[in-house]
């Protein structure tokens, strides 16, 4: 069996709404199986029994606090970002591991940290080497074997940097760490999962997952007596988000790469994001440097750059009216999506 099976079971469902996938087999010549199947079909429901509790604050932030909820949102579609973690809310496990309280396996963050330490070590050695070279040069000495040896040594360090091996870390328990523990000696759950506004809308408007009322959520995100200009940017972003989500992409924030969204085929644990999306209004045009620099950053991470244009199909007044009547479905479907792929073109490579 391949290695990813464990992940495949953990991330079995791409959305928090689960399909009815445990229906009994339907045997054509057996009427009882029909009746049983029908019973199972009718008694089952896609709606989750318990809604995820979410909170909103004055700064328009939507957060999820309970641990099982955070896990549910992450496992079923990779929603939200842990406030003290890179993406998945793993702070508690990591801290417990760091303090030697439990032996959990290595998180993604610790792998990265290890790699960064190695990189730093390499850079230190390299600067030492550079300094030695400079000294020799100032003496007017050019050819020497020491430099060659140094160079080989650096190269071996560089190779080691890329290889990943397990080695145990020492447990360092600082004085301040005691404040993190509760009476039972366990790490307190102080990390929360923060949802992007568009994610919050998706999980309450398109899928009944959060326990928020859609109108209240909307009036928190944009004030209740909003003008069209206020709702436009949110609606534009949401329309793009919904578009990609509904085609099966796992959409996450692209702020790390200077764009709006990143599209993963299944999710961050499975593969790298394949596309980076910049969402623009259909009439909008930026300075060329903006496109170019975003494309450079995105291209450096081996992603394709897509400019997603959202075009308004009806008048501003009408959309505002839909919005005020809480008819969000009509408001969102009065936008249309168009995409343009932006790639660098090298003449020399396209000649034959």
């Amino acid at each position: 069996m391949p290695k990813y099976v464990r992940d495949a079971y953990r991330y079995k469902y791409p959305l928090p709404i689960h399909p009815l996938d445990h229906l009994p087999p339907l045997i054509p010549h057996n009427p009882i199986s029909w009746a049983y199947w029908l019973f199972c079909y009718l008694s089952g429901s896609n709606e989750p029994q318990v809604r995820v509790h979410a909170e909103m604050d004055d700064l328009k932030r939507v957060t999820v606090c309970r641990e099982q909820d955070m896990r549910l949102l992450w496992d079923n579609g990779f929603f939200g970002t842990g406030r003290m973690s890179r993406s998945e809310a793993t702070w508690r496990q990591r801290t417990a591991k760091r303090l030697g309280l439990e032996s959990s396996e290595r998180g993604l963050e610790s792998v990265t940290e290890k790699r960064r330490q190695r990189r730093l070590q390499f850079k230190r050695e390299r600067s030492k080497f550079e300094a030695a070279k400079l000294e020799l040069r100032q003496k007017g000495d050019l050819a020497c074997e020491i430099l060659d040896q140094e160079r080989l040594f650096l190269r071996s360090l560089r190779d080691k940097e890329l290889a990943y091996d397990k080695d145990d870390d020492d447990v360092v328990f600082r004085e301040i760490d005691h404040e993190l523990l509760d009476d039972a000696g366990e790490v307190m759950p102080i990390e929360v999962l923060e949802l992007m506004p568009v994610e919050a809308i998706f999980l309450s408007f398109a899928l009944p997952v959060l326990d928020l009322q859609v109108p209240t959520l909307m009036s928190t995100l944009v004030s209740s007596n909003a003008t069209f200009a206020d709702i436009e940017s949110l609606a534009t972003k949401y329309v793009a988000y919904h578009h990609y989500r509904s085609r099966g992409w796992c959409v996450r924030s692209g702020v790390k790469f200077g764009c709006d969204f990143l599209l993963y085929r299944r999710g961050p644990p499975f593969q790298h994001a394949e596309f980076a999306v910049m969402v623009l209004n259909a009439d909008e045009t930026l300075d060329y440097t903006q496109y170019s620099s975003t494309a450079r950053v995105v291209g450096g991470a081996r992603k394709s750059f897509v400019v997603c244009y959202v075009e308004r199909q009806v008048s501003e007044r009408q959309i505002l009216q839909f919005w005020q009547n809480h008819n969000y479905a009509s408001a969102f479907s009065s936008f249309k999506i168009g995409e343009v792929t932006y790639r660098r073109w090298v003449p020399g490579k396209n000649r034959d």
Binding site: K12, P19, S292, S304, S333, E339, V340, R343
Partner: protein
């Protein structure tokens, strides 16, 4: 700069070949790097100036070698081969009374009297290369020889100069480049009666929207999950995807381009972009009169000009409708379609005449890449595309902009279904074993 001293690499005849091979000789530098270990190998440069004379000296030495190789070679063109070209200010064109040379295959237009007429950028390009000696036509018997500086002064606008820079760059790389407006078109008419179609499409859109709304609205009500049930994630995704409409990309390059109504609002001025150059990859059998569909279409865009801005989506759509160049994705598709037909024919004949042989369809299945790969390639490549040459203070960078469509490609992963299948397979195996 004296014209006689300029070398021309390509268009010259065999008697000057010796000069050319001499110019391209970099062996001195190669030898130098091999002999002395001091000079850093290629690719491993010093990070920054360290203030030592040694570094300075190394750099100077390397540079000097480069210049020496350039300066020591004899350069020039053979007087016998030079052709005189005459610039006419009134038409902003140039003509060559007695044309000959390889450049005729891809450049210029020869009229009935045998005179070759060149576009101004073609003229400058050929003069810069030394193929043509430029003159200014002053009177019937008086011509003024021109320098390259003079020629540059005759560019009429900064756009023209930008266009020339892109033209010369692509040309030097070996592409066949023609100005887009001079190419004979193959039946491409502009959409003129947009008012009527817009009215029809508007009413149609209205009805369409009404229907989609009817389908959409109940989905987002709380009773929705009481009525409907989904047995797979795919069904759920299909429901979700009904909310937001999307523009579909034009997938098949048709010569009589489909005139879809592009909603252009009167409140905002939509700039009409024009394709500057048609570009073909270097090929032997190129004919000026019947060049065929270009491989690339290039638009020159100056990033610093205040009059120019990066296109908006409406402008993009307008441009994509005008394009004629074949995109890779479409040609691929046509290939596969053709391949399928051939495959079917083969299968048919196989069945008809040699019933015992395995059909070719099975073989085809193996050869085809997986569906997932082709989908991702499709999404990365897009459909119709053009090249934008971006000019930034003399630096040209090229970008390829292609129309794309994520809306019709569903990438959802049905984990539950896959696992059911897998477990069934697992269950099935032992029973077989026991039997």
């Amino acid at each position: 700069m004296a014209v006689e001293n300029e070398s021309n690499g390509k268009d010259q005849h065999s008697d000057s070949d010796d000069d050319i091979t001499d110019v391209q000789d970099w062996s001195h530098i190669a030898k130098l790097t091999r002999k002395q270990a001091i000079i850093p190998k290629r690719g491993e440069k010093d990070y920054e100036p360290d203030g030592t004379d040694v570094q300075e000296f190394l750099l100077f030495q390397a540079r000097q070698e480069m210049f020496d190789t350039l300066l020591n070679a004899a350069r020039g063109s053979v007087k016998k081969n030079t052709i005189n070209g005459y610039y006419e200010q009134t038409t902003h064109q140039a003509f060559i009374p007695f044309p000959r040379g390889n450049f005729m295959h891809t450049m210029g237009q020869v009229d009935r009297t045998g005179v070759c007429w060149l576009e101004f950028n073609e003229f400058v390009y050929l003069s810069e290369r030394g193929t043509v000696r430029p003159f200014l036509k002053c009177g019937d018997d008086f011509d003024l020889p021109l320098s390259v500086q003079d020629l540059y002064a005759y560019f009429r606008s900064s756009e023209e100069l930008d266009n020339y820079a892109v033209y010369a760059h692509l040309k030097r790389l070996g592409f066949i480049v023609t100005s887009s407006r001079h190419r004979p078109r193959i039946g491409c008419s502009e959409n003129t009666n947009s008012t009527r179609t817009s009215w029809i499409s508007k009413s149609f859109n209205c009805i369409n929207r009404l229907f989609t709304n009817l389908f959409n609205v109940p989905f987002y009500s709380p009773f929705f999950y009481k009525i409907l049930r989904f047995t797979s994630s795919g069904q759920l995704y299909l429901q979700l995807s009904k909310l937001v409409p999307y523009y579909s990309a034009q997938k098949f390059a048709s010569l009589s381009s489909v005139h879809e109504h592009v909603p252009i609002k009167s409140e905002r001025q939509v700039k009409e972009w024009h394709i500057t150059f048609d570009v073909w990859k270097p090929k032997a059998g190129f004919k000026k009169k019947t060049p065929g569909v270009p491989d690339f279409q290039v638009i020159v865009f100056n990033k610093n000009a205040s009059s120019q801005r990066f296109p908006t989506y409406r402008e993009f759509r307008y441009l994509f409708r005008k394009l004629e160049s074949k995109s890779d994705a479409t040609s691929e598709r046509e290939d596969s379609k053709w391949g399928r037909i051939v495959g079917k024919l083969k299968a048919f004949f196989n069945r008809g005449y040699w019933p015992g042989e395995p059909s070719s369809e099975c073989k085809e299945k193996e050869a085809k890449p997986s569906k997932k790969v082709t989908q991702i390639q499709r999404l990365k490549k897009g459909y119709k595309s053009f090249i934008m040459a971006v000019m930034d203070d003399g630096l040209i960078s090229y970008i390829r902009l292609s129309e794309n469509e994520f809306g019709s490609e569903s990438v959802w992963y049905d984990g539950a279904r896959m696992q059911n299948k897998r477990s069934k397979r697992k269950n099935a195996k032992p029973t077989k074993m026991t039997n």
